[in-house]
Amino acid sequence: MIRVENVSKRYGSTLAVDSVSFEIAAGEIVGFLGPNGAGKSTLLKMMSTWLPPTSGKIEIAGHDVTKDPLLVRHQLGYLPEHNALYDGMRVDRYLSFIGKARGLSGSELADRIAWAVDKCSLQAVTKKLVRQCSKGYRQRIGVASALLHDPPVILLDEPTHGLDPLQVVAFRDFLLGLSEGRAIFFSSHILAEVVAISERILIINHGKLLCDAPLSALEESARVNGGDLERTVLEIVKSERRFGDAAPEEVLA
């Protein structure tokens, strides 16, 4: 469903993303970890068609993001990093605008808005202006708008940012319920969130993909080395060596 092949992004002399490759199949929820400025958002922006890759190839649901951006966007639900929304619009009108732009209309549009409002618990704010909503509500409005058209591929950049702990738990359950038949790729810099939702984890730092492994492999590495998962991830980030290229013992050395 998602294929990223040797993708790089260069800004002047800075290589923000360096030859990253991975694939995500339908039904997978993959967490994307990395410190601030590691290249997470840049990669997601390229996958969303917002930024063109400097080199390499990205395919979403079989469509090339550079050659067929419109077809890609139809297949994609995307929550950008800063979750920007039109502050002056009423929440229900904002969702309607996004739904129409995605080709929904009539009763189908009304049904999908009702579904998104229910799933994201937006009932209390549908008639409010976006600017009147709290940070948690704004984040949920962003998620609702990304899922409105029932996309097979979902990209979420820091989706739990701004949510309180209860909302994070509810969001995790919601995302798990969506995973059937969909490829979900979400970024975070909080390990616990990624571990709670995904069974496969990608770690990036300085633009390089340092880990693409099942959660169980990371847990096994942590167990073998007598450390916890957090420390293992931290060492992968620090070592700047790809996880699996060295023996687990060496990773912690």
Binding site: L70, H74, P80, H82, A84, Y86, I98, G103, S145
Partner: protein, 251 residues
Amino acid sequence: MSALRPRKSGGVLLIAGRELSAYFDSSIAYVYTIAFVLLANSIFMNEFFLVGTVDMTAFFDLMPLLLAFFLPAITMRLWAEERRQRTIEVLLTLPIRTIQAVLGKYLAALGLFGLFLVGSLPIPIMLFALGDPDPGLIASGYLGLVLFGALFLAFGAFLSALSGDQIVAFVVSTVLGFALVLSGNDQVTAVIDGLAPELAIGTFLHESVSVLPHYDTFVRGAIDLSSLFFFGVLSALFLWANALVLDANRE
């Protein structure tokens, strides 16, 4: 899961509708329209009662300077605001083409400008009630106004995309707008020519750069094809350049 439903012209209208709502959801549309209509009508009325002729030439002569100020106020926010709020990433990752978004916003700006013109209709209504003005002259004058506005709105939208800041977009659009208008004024042309007679810069600007001579053909009652072409092609070029700038400046 969703089937493919590429949007065509509907995308333009959808963006235009959202943009018009944004104008009216804030006080922008009301303030600009009321200010423009009051100013335009009162200046004309002053002239009308002094001169006492039943025609709109004084109104059409006044409009370029007034619009050189008011139209940048409409366009300054079009793209600069999207960048400031970061909503541009949301907008341009929807399944619509960049040029559709550009045309949608342009259409909304034209709509608000149309409201300005509707606000001036009491003038011809009054003239027809008082006397027998030349309807052809009034119609061609309004056509000139529409073309003038269409060009300045396309130009302002392009500068809003280019600058990324509302104030900068407004100041640059206004200064360049005034330059494009004033360079067509005979007195200004004479002054600039007088600075360096051998170069005849004023004449060059008057004949090759200013929009005023093209606009004046309509005000004088002639529908000149070359002027129609001038406004149409330049407007289209700025809209096309607007889309190019947006695609080139993604961050």
